[in-house]
């Protein structure tokens, strides 16, 4: 019924041999370990082994007051740290019933979407590099540096942000940020044709990605796959649309969906999502209200006893914070549902029967961030 097997040394014979891909390997995006059984170059079984960057985030939450977990959230998934920041703040605000000024929500959405663009740029380009083209990676980074400049301007750091606060955000955005964002969006739109010519329409790229690593809808249901990986399989599920939070309902945007479920589809979904993010940012900048950026919140919050689940969409899929409070200043339990954890486990189902090169492409197209899996 389940074709999930774990790799067992005893079944190795002369024909089949074992290959450890990782934990240190150029294409495992950090310290992922793929244990594979190979017949020639064809994968017979594959098992991801995780935990090499387990840092105990959840235990740490139980040792700190609510505010002190804030910097950690952006280190769970360092590529979309602001989105995690945003989500954690919203979860705690939901638990405590804190109102957030509208301007703050707009700023949060703008920064989150910028972060999503930067994450997708890196994700796509790293995936293209895994396929063997090195130059697009640098072009993507060139664009990404502009996003990072913008985010550094408002949030103060390039990668691991701690920008959102309970009840608002830390700094207001200025005119230069707004203008810079618009300039960046124009620039990135111009660059898209280059990317399409250089990558999407390249015959080698198409040959390498079409029909590879297919995740069907049923497989996705079995494994709880979310995010662009799911939307490449023909399901238009996006937390921003299906379960709206923040001020997302006020914006007009689409959820890009591809039917094929292969590596190419996931790549295309990410490309289209960047365009949608740019639309959201433009609308948010146009409708940016005036007003305070942070509501009155006590220095240290004391949430009421109770629990709540809050879901939001990071660049990799549906994230959930399950928060249990016992009424003290210290969280009783914080569980983070991270999308890469579920997305990665699909590999055991879809990798067997593929070549090593396809495994690398599939892994790249799922776009995992290892500390997010390991927490």
């Amino acid at each position: 019924m389940l074709n999930i097997k774990t790799i067992d040394d005893t079944t190795i014979n002369e024909r089949v041999y074992q290959l450890n891909l990782g934990p240190q390997h150029p294409s495992t995006h950090g310290v992922l370990h793929l244990l594979m059984k190979l017949d020639g170059e064809v994968v017979v079984e594959a098992e991801p082994i995780v935990g090499y960057s387990h840092r105990g985030h959840e235990k740490m939450a139980e040792n700190r007051i609510w505010e002190q977990f804030l910097p950690n959230t952006s280190r769970i998934d360092y590529l979309s740290g602001l989105i995690y920041n945003h989500g954690y703040c919203m979860a705690v605000e939901k638990l405590c019933g804190i109102e957030v000024p509208e301007r703050a929500e707009y700023i949060r959405v703008i920064t989150s979407e910028l972060n999503r663009i930067s994450s997708h740029l890196l994700g796509i380009m790293a995936f293209v590099m895994d396929i063997g083209a090195f130059t697009p990676f640098l072009y993507g980074w060139d664009d990404r540096e502009h996003v990072l400049d913008l985010l550094e301007r408002v949030a103060g750091s390039r990668l691991t942000y701690c920008y959102n606060r309970f009840g608002g955000v830390r700094n207001d955005i200025d005119r230069e940020f707004c203008d810079g964002t618009r300039r960046f969006i124009d620039r990135l739109r111009g660059r898209f044709s280059d990317y399409h010519n250089l990558i999407t329409e390249n015959i080698i790229f198409i040959k390498r990605t079409r029909g590879i690593g297919i995740i069907t809808e049923d497989t996705a249901l079995d494994f709880g796959v979310t995010g662009p990986t799911l939307r490449g399989s023909g399901v238009g599920y996006d937390v921003r649309k299906n379960e709206p939070y923040s001020v997302y309902p006020e914006f007009d945007f689409e959820i890009p969906v591809r039917k094929e479920g292969d590596v190419m589809a996931r790549y295309q979904v990410r490309m289209a999502e960047m365009e949608q993010s740019m639309n959201i940012i433009e609308q948010a900048l146009d409708g940016l209200p005036q007003g305070p950026i942070r509501s009155k919140v006590p220095l240290f919050i004391d949430p009421p006893a109770g629990d709540c689940y809050f879901a939001f969409e990071s660049a990799r899929g549906a994230v959930g914070y399950y928060i249990v409070s016992d009424g003290t200043r210290i969280p009783y339990r914080i569980k983070v549902r991270t999308p890469s954890f579920s997305n990665l486990f699909v590999l055991t189902r879809i990798l067997p029967g593929n070549f090593i090169a396809d495994c690398i492409a599939t892994l790249g197209s799922i776009d995992v961030v290892v500390p997010e899996i390991d927490r």
């Binding site: 240190q24 090499y52 960057s53 840092r55 105990g56 040792n63 700190r64 910097p71 500390p371």
Partner: protein
């Protein structure tokens, strides 16, 4: 420098800077040694070895904006062909054997840079009750340069690499190793 006895910031047990003296020239080989050192500092090849957040900034340092290739620094994917190990990220207990193996696989002379606060001291993850991480790469590797920051900017890493170049050309590393050897011999 200690503030008081219950200081949360533990001060160094002994002064490290005392060891970092200029190296005396080794007999007639000083010129050769200098030439080799010059070659070494100008082609420090780090290993493609990212663990966590800092690895992204490490990549950024190699990309178009900062371009490590200007200094002759190119990333090699196999430890056999690399000179510098940039420990960029939190080291978990599960990962320690791997790091040690990688370090042993590198051919000498080799150096370590601890990039980011996690690799220096455990950083934000060193809290009471922590069970998963090693607080600092210097617990398992002989770290030469520390680049603090969470994560450090790419410029910070480049500055660290330039510091390492200085340290190599000054010969302080050789001097340290020789001092260690002499101490061991004296013990015997």
């Amino acid at each position: 420098m200690a503030v008081d006895e219950r200081s949360p910031i533990c001060m160094p047990p002994n002064d490290h800077s005392a060891q970092l003296k200029e190296s005396p020239a080794i007999l007639g080989f000083a010129v050769l040694q200098d030439l080799l050192n010059l070659a070494r500092v100008n082609s420090l090849w780090p290993m493609t070895f990212g663990i966590a957040c800092c690895s992204i900034e490490m990549m950024a340092a190699g990309m178009a904006r900062f371009d490590l290739d200007r200094f002759g620094i190119i990333f090699r994917s196999t430890p056999r062909q690399s000179d510098v190990m940039i420990v960029a990220g939190t080291i978990s207990h599960k990962f320690v054997p791997t790091i040690k193996t990688l370090w042993e696989q590198m051919p000498g002379p080799k150096w370590v840079i601890a990039m980011g606060n996690c690799a220096i001291s455990g950083g934000p993850f060193a809290y009471e009750g922590q069970y998963a991480i090693v607080n600092g790469a210097d617990k398992i590797l002989p770290v030469d340069i520390y680049v603090p920051g969470c994560p450090p900017r790419p410029e910070g890493l480049i500055q660290g690499l330039l510091q390492l170049q200085k340290k190599i050309t000054k010969g302080t590393i050789d001097a340290n190793r020789r001092a260690e050897k002499a101490a061991r011999r004296a013990k015997k």
